[in-house]
């Protein structure tokens, strides 16, 4: 039985035995994945993971509790597990106080998105990678297979999302910490495309093998490639756009929200569900709108409001998950042609990747982080040499404000490579950014 069929079977079974004032929501999170780890151009750790879990929330009036349960994939066994969990939850909710912030979806809308993409078998992709990696110091991971998400509730709503996707995320190492970081994947996997990206990476690798350049701490012109911008926005995605964090005053964009600061008017950010690669239903069964503007013309335009925050603060929710973090963040492109970015940078630092960003003063919007992988010293539009890793420290209001000189017209769709607990369906769509100054401190 497929994960989706099993899920429907389990949801139907729960719906057959509802008492007065009882209800439920049920969420599926399953995958059949292959993960192959590489190091030094060889296989390090290859394997499969077949896992499925449901999260059952049992509701009695305004009381509710939830349980996440591993599924075996065997219908009878899983039905018994789920029934036992339901019985336990029935006992627990009796002892709970009413939840004033419970907001249930009372307008069921069922949807179905099943991508039957035909990916090459993981063994074949692995063999191709090994072939392409011959003689190279390649390190990284292939994650491929089918992801399944689904939602059901006692009102008969059913939402199914399945996607077959592969993502190869790898580095070509020039030596030490100097490397070219690459990624390729999607719902189709072309070996020609893989070879093309590998060849492009090798061109950059040649420049990395030059003698590294060092610069003293100070302020330098800089270009952030899309992958570096992803890291920058990834830090903000923790909680900067969260309604709950903004209300608590803990959002690092608090001054933007309060209107005391603004960004460059060319900065537009939105939660772009329609342009993303994940499901369009959040965990409580509310459909996500196609887009939620977060920053428009450099000014605060909105936040991500979960149903729970909506009930707490008396707002309309906008389809955000409980964590209130973007799942499909999109930054608008600008006028700068990416092909001209090196020339436009002139003399300064070309940063392909940033790393380990964190807040050093949330109230001030000040952040810190490291350069990583392919970072180059550039003079008069020409790459001179790789740069040793540097720590930067700046205010986000400056980086995306006065320091912002240009935004590339072209944008990259970057699927998340995160595999904590399960493969992610998040993504970002970002341009490159040309900065008049980035402050290096160490």
């Amino acid at each position: 039985m497929s994960w989706q069929d099993l899920f429907s079977h389990l949801a139907d079974d729960l719906g057959d035995d509802l008492g007065s004032d009882e209800g439920f929501t049920l969420v599926l999170d399953a995958e059949n994945s292959s993960f192959v780890r590489f190091n030094h151009g060889k296989i390090r750790q290859p394997g499969d993971v077949r896992q499925g879990a449901v999260t059952l929330r049992w509701i009695l009036g305004r009381r509710h509790a939830s349980a996440r349960l591993s599924l075996s994939g065997l219908a009878e066994s899983d039905r018994a597990t789920l029934r036992a969990a339901r019985d336990r939850l029935r006992g627990i909710v009796q002892e709970l106080p009413e939840d004033p912030h419970l907001l249930l979806n009372t307008h069921p809308r069922s949807t179905r998105s099943i991508d039957e993409a035909d990916l090459p078998p993981p063994e074949r992709i692995t063999a191709q990678i090994c072939q392409a990696a011959e003689g190279l110091d390649l390190v990284g991971i292939l994650a491929t297979g089918t992801l399944h998400r689904a939602f059901a509730n006692h009102l008969g709503q059913r939402n199914a999302f399945s996607s077959a996707a592969a993502l190869f995320d790898w580095s070509l190492v020039a030596g030490g910490d100097k490397a070219v970081k690459l990624s390729y994947g999607g719902t189709h996997f072309s070996f020609d495309e893989l070879r093309g990206r590998m060849a492009k990476g090798l061109e950059q690798l040649a420049a990395l093998q030059r003698e590294p350049h060092t610069i003293p701490p100070g302020r330098y012109r800089a270009y952030l490639a899309p992958a570096a911008v992803e890291e920058l926005l990834g830090l903000l995605s923790w909680d900067a756009f969260s309604c709950r964090a903004q209300r608590a005053g803990s959002s690092p964009l608090g001054r933007l929200v309060a209107g005391k600061e603004h960004l460059d008017p060319r900065v537009h950010l939105l939660e772009d569900t329609a342009g993303g690669i994940g499901p369009d239903v959040q965990g409580d069964g509310f459909l996500k709108p196609d887009a939620v503007p977060l920053i428009t013309n450099g000014r605060h335009a909105g936040c991500l409001i979960s149903p729970r925050s909506a009930a707490e603060y008396g707002l309309e929710h906008n389809g955000a998950d409980a964590r209130e973090s973007p799942a499909s963040l999109s930054m608008a492109g600008g006028e700068l042609d990416a092909e001209q970015a090196l020339q436009a940078l002139g003399t300064g630092v070309w940063i392909s990747n940033l790393w380990y960003l964190n807040h050093s003063d949330r109230n001030a919007g000040r952040i810190t982080g490291m350069t990583r992988f392919a970072t180059f010293w550039v003079q008069e539009g020409q790459i001179v040499a790789p740069l040793s890793v540097m720590r930067f420290e700046d205010r986000i209001y400056d980086l995306l404000g006065e320091a912002l000189e240009g935004i590339t017209r072209q944008r990259d769709l970057i699927p998340s490579a995160s595999t904590y607990e399960a493969r992610s369906t998040d993504s970002v769509r970002v341009p490159g950014l040309l900065l008049r100054g980035l402050t290096f401190t160490l």
Partner: protein, 488 residues
């Protein structure tokens, strides 16, 4: 007493595993893991809906024809285990001759025994209403002032049960209970927000039951935390200067973790993590001679430490747990590497091959990494400082991928002037370089200053894994550190 169904489960898993063992493989293991978790939270006076989880499955690992493959499955039936073994065999055969090592040369542990870290006061046996009341009381005690705009108290409880079976007759069963309390407040005034917690990122985590709450003062800690958050609103920014610094244990844990623990992981040194978590400034030839820190620096790897968050009897590849000094009187002795990394590098290691769950393969992890106590009381450390700061509880962390250039921020700071603790300062941060920072260690607190801490959130690996780690440390004094405050 062990519940009877557990024995039935072990026996039936053993039987299914034995029945499914193929004849053509060199070595096969099954690692069953069951993890039950519960989180109870009260936020802003509202009990949040309780959430529990039961995560259960098995990881099969196969050595065959020189390759190594794995397959994880939540289907523990006879056919589920058989299919997983076949998938793992298929990967092992594909890897044969194409892997970074030859599995025929790897050790094949055959451990036997059991280990447990039972709770003295099992948390889950108390009625849920009583547990929620306790959490709600702690949360209510945080709301002492209108400037407290956000408050929460929570308890994360995790019970684990694992069974490792090997095709060579090995069988190891392990059980542990873990508890992580947290208290958190945000104080706000005139556009300024300050956060204060009991232990940062659930840093007050230990093995055990409700007794862990008592050890960390969960029931009495609220007022102090709230008062300190309010004090931070009124406090000046931390001075920006080169100063002496005393780090409290709840900042030392992060300092040890990031700038000693990760760089000593042997899989990083061997390059496995270069695409994600990063590499290391430590190289194989440094072991035995390299001066990592001052004479006062002694670092132990100790998965046998009672109550510490990441204690166990055997690691996930079946190596028996043992306390080992990694840095002795400042000299680097040994890396953090399990038996596969030891074989690959030719270096000695420790029993630290660990997976976050049944669905991920083991890799080199920290477990419990501790700084051994010295002889000074906290007062004696403070008296040694003419101008400095005393910093508590990690708030922010950032370090380069070789684990060298770091910058950390803390929740709470106190000035030290002429050997006396002075006023509170806010937004304290400091930066340095691992390779030189530990050489500035000038004083190590005694056992009275030591705290045994831990966190559930150490991330690493491809595919990604977040594991529990423990860090016991006294307060420590460092000379001439680059300290700074926030933007006014």
């Amino acid at each position: 007493m062990r519940p009877p169904w557990r024995c039935v489960l072990n026996a039936s898993l053993s039987a299914r595993f034995a029945a499914a063992l193929p004849s053509g493989s060199d070595y096969v293991t099954l690692r069953f893991v069951e993890e039950r978790a519960e989180i109870l939270t009260c936020r802003n006076g509202v009990v949040q809906p309780p959430s529990t989880s039961l995560d259960r499955g098995a990881m099969i690992t196969v050595y065959e024809a020189g390759g190594l493959g794995y397959a994880a499955t939540s289907d523990l039936s006879a056919s589920g285990i058989r299919q997983a073994i076949e998938r793992a065999r298929s990967w092992a055969r594909q890897g044969a001759g194409a892997m970074v090592f030859d599995s025929r040369e790897l050790p094949r542990p055959s451990p036997k025994g059991s280990w447990s870290a039972p709770a003295i006061e099992p948390w889950a046996t108390q009625p849920i209403s009583a547990r929620l009341d306790r959490v709600a009381r702690a949360e209510a005690a945080l709301r002492i002032d209108p400037r407290i705009v956000e408050s929460s108290a929570s308890v994360l409880a995790i019970d684990t049960h694992s069974l490792l079976l090997t095709s060579t007759g090995g069988e190891v069963e392990q059980r542990a209970s873990h508890l992580s309390p947290e208290l958190e407040v945000y104080a706000h005034q005139d556009g300024l927000t300050q956060r204060r917690t009991l232990g940062g990122l659930r840093g007050t985590s230990q093995q055990g039951g409700a007794e862990v709450l008592t050890r960390f003062g969960f029931d009495q800690g609220s007022q102090r935390i709230a008062l300190e958050a309010i004090a931070l609103l009124e406090a000046p920014e931390c001075p920006t200067d080169i100063l002496d610094v005393i780090l409290a244990p709840d900042q030392m844990m992060l300092q040890i973790h990031e700038s000693i623990g990760h760089p000593l992981e042997l899989d990083r040194i061997l390059g496995d993590e270069r695409n994600y978590a990063g590499t290391s400034f430590v190289t194989p030839e440094m072991f035995g001679t390299y001066r990592y820190g001052s004479e006062l620096l002694n670092i132990s790897f100790d998965p046998t430490h009672p109550n510490e968050y990441a204690s166990y009897g055997w690691d996930d590849d079946g190596a028996p747990a043992e306390r080992v000094l990694l840095i002795e009187r400042g000299i680097l002795k040994r890396p953090l590497g399990g038996h596969i990394s030891q074989h690959r590098s030719g270096l000695p290691g420790v029993a630290n091959s660990r997976a976050c769950a049944w669905n991920r393969p083991p890799i080199d992890r920290m477990a419990n990494l501790n700084l051994e106590p010295g002889s000074h009381s906290l007062q004696e450390l403070i008296r040694q400082v003419e101008r400095g700061v005393f910093l508590e509880t990690n708030a922010s962390w950032s370090i380069d991928d070789s684990r060298n250039k770091f910058q950390f921020s803390c929740e709470f700071g106190r000035e030290i002037v002429d050997g006396e603790l002075g006023r509170v300062v806010r937004n304290p941060s400091y930066r340095g370089i691992s390779a030189t920072f530990w050489r500035s260690l000038a004083g190590v607190g005694d056992r009275d200053t030591l705290q045994t801490l831990g966190t559930p959130y150490c991330g690493k690996g491809e595919p990604n894994q977040a594991v529990r780690v423990g860090h016991a440390s006294p307060a420590c004094l460092f000379r001439q550190v680059d300290v700074f405050g926030g933007a006014a």
